[in-house]
Subunit: 132 residues, 2 copies
Amino acid sequence: MKVSTKARYGFKFMIHLALNYNIKLVQIREVSVSEKISSKYLEQIAMSFKIAGLVKVTRGAKGGYTLSRTPKEITLLEIITAAEGNLVLTDCIESSDFCQKKDDCIMNKLWVDLNNHITDYLGSKTLQDIIS
Amino acid sequence: MKVSTKARYGFKFMIHLALNYNIKLVQIREVSVSEKISSKYLEQIAMSFKIAGLVKVTRGAKGGYTLSRTPKEITLLEIITAAEGNLVLTDCIESSDFCQKKDDCIMNKLWVDLNNHITDYLGSKTLQDIIS
DNA sequence: ATTATACTCTACTTAAACAATAGGAATTGT
DNA sequence: ACAATTCCTATTGTTTAAGTAGAGTATAAT
Ligand code: FES
Ligand code: FES
């Protein structure tokens, strides 16, 4: 149970975007230097956010990224999901016949409950909460 | 963010012990067959629980494992901790100077809060809750 | 138009962690 | 003595995370 660097770096990236929201476009290089993250790696992470629709992109010179919604409208769950994929503590949360006895596996409820707890928590916090 | 098989298998093992608490000793082989888990792997997991003081062991023929406390006195957090080590979503939760700017890293609080959320939840549930 | 800037796409490599296997030693009941 | 069962620890195999690399595309400024 760890948070990946992709998600952690991703958060830093999104925080930069949030802090510059409605002020200016943010470039990969800028975040890469200030946070000491490989710019090539950060590019890939930024791409995930683009695909998830969390950021708007302007290509070419003077281009960069900005949030596609206000910081208040972007939850931490959306960010971590964009970076790591759906939050699924155990496969039996999504797919059946995982531990060969899903139907009567008394542990299934535990994992589902815990998973919901975490997603509820992350879904209730927004980027705005973090930067303020 | 995944739960390891060690923890999942470990839970199954502990549930067997809980269901047989004050009834009989439980052997690795028994759980291994019924849950279709490699017995050699399960041995290692059982060893972690022994080290953590969650189970009592009787060696030799007719030996086996039993809980060292009642199912109600063993939290899920203790189990997952014994299996996976301390629950630490990001290293900056335990050690400082992790992301080079811990002191003013606004993300630190987020991880600590989320970590506490999860440990509180798991610490509030017991083996008894699962088997009943 | 040309150039510099910055994002896009895809493939590859490396390193670490997870998962599982293996085999013999020690202990105990019969 | 012998069988059952845990104990110990080394090794191997597999998967995923993390990072590197480089050519390609779009745009602004000049
Ligand atoms: S179905 Fe998830 S642990 Fe059994
Ligand atoms: S100190 Fe944990 S993310 Fe910065």
